[in-house]
């Protein structure tokens, strides 16, 4: 019972992180805080991907001096690496957008950055 709960803990953490990130994205007025929430959501999804690859008593997926061939899944780790890199590029681009918006609008309050509406 305890082992099952512990094995499910990463997915619980994913859910909590997603909710915190979504909360920041939806309810914060500061653009930078929204982008922080987005970054949290990205971390949550990456954690989910890696957690799905876990196999109980599995070794690291490296063939040199391997104790046993029962390994955790390496494919999801590759997916996660790709997703992390994409997340870095996205965050960099959106933060630079935030900088330019601050220079042009003078504020990072998203309720005031609304020239395009209707």
């Amino acid at each position: 019972m305890i082992t099952r709960l512990l094995l499910a803990f990463p997915f619980l953490a994913v859910a909590i992180l997603l909710l915190i990130g979504l909360g920041a994205l939806l309810f914060k007025r500061n653009l930078i805080k929204m982008l922080m929430g987005l970054s949290l959501m990205e971390s949550a999804v990456n954690l989910f991907l890696v957690a799905t690859g876990y196999r109980q008593d599995g070794a690291a997926p490296i063939f040199t001096n391997v104790p046993s061939t029962h390994m955790v899944l390496p494919t999801v780790q590759a997916l996660t690496l790709t997703a992390i890199v994409i997340g870095v590029a996205t965050s960099a681009m959106m933060l630079s957008f935030a900088m330019v918006i601050y220079k042009k609008y003078g504020t990072v309050d998203i309720r005031k950055i609304r020239k395009l509406n209707g």
Binding site: L22, L25, L26, M34, R111, R114, G118
Partner: protein
Amino acid sequence: MDISWTLQTGSGSWNPVLWLLAFAVAFGAAWLIRSLGRADNRKGDALKPFISGNEEPADGGGHIPASNLYWGFTEAMKAYYEKLVPLHTGIPSDYVAWLLGVMALMLVIALTV
């Protein structure tokens, strides 16, 4: 290479080339009838636009601007527009909220139906 000139829709058909021919014939007939009229209808005073006898305002003054062009339509649909246009707030959080709302609705529908 043989191409079919008629579009079959399952309950009808549409042939654009025949339509163009019919259009050309009708256009030719209209042109013929027009050319039987007076020869001086493209000269002088007949060229000026008739605005109930008034003078044409200078420099595009009589040109109705785009915002006023469909006043009747927007006025008649005022109740609809007054609810719809404020929904397009321009705030990104609202956009994400709409996306998540539709996702939640579809999850509920898909998992219970």
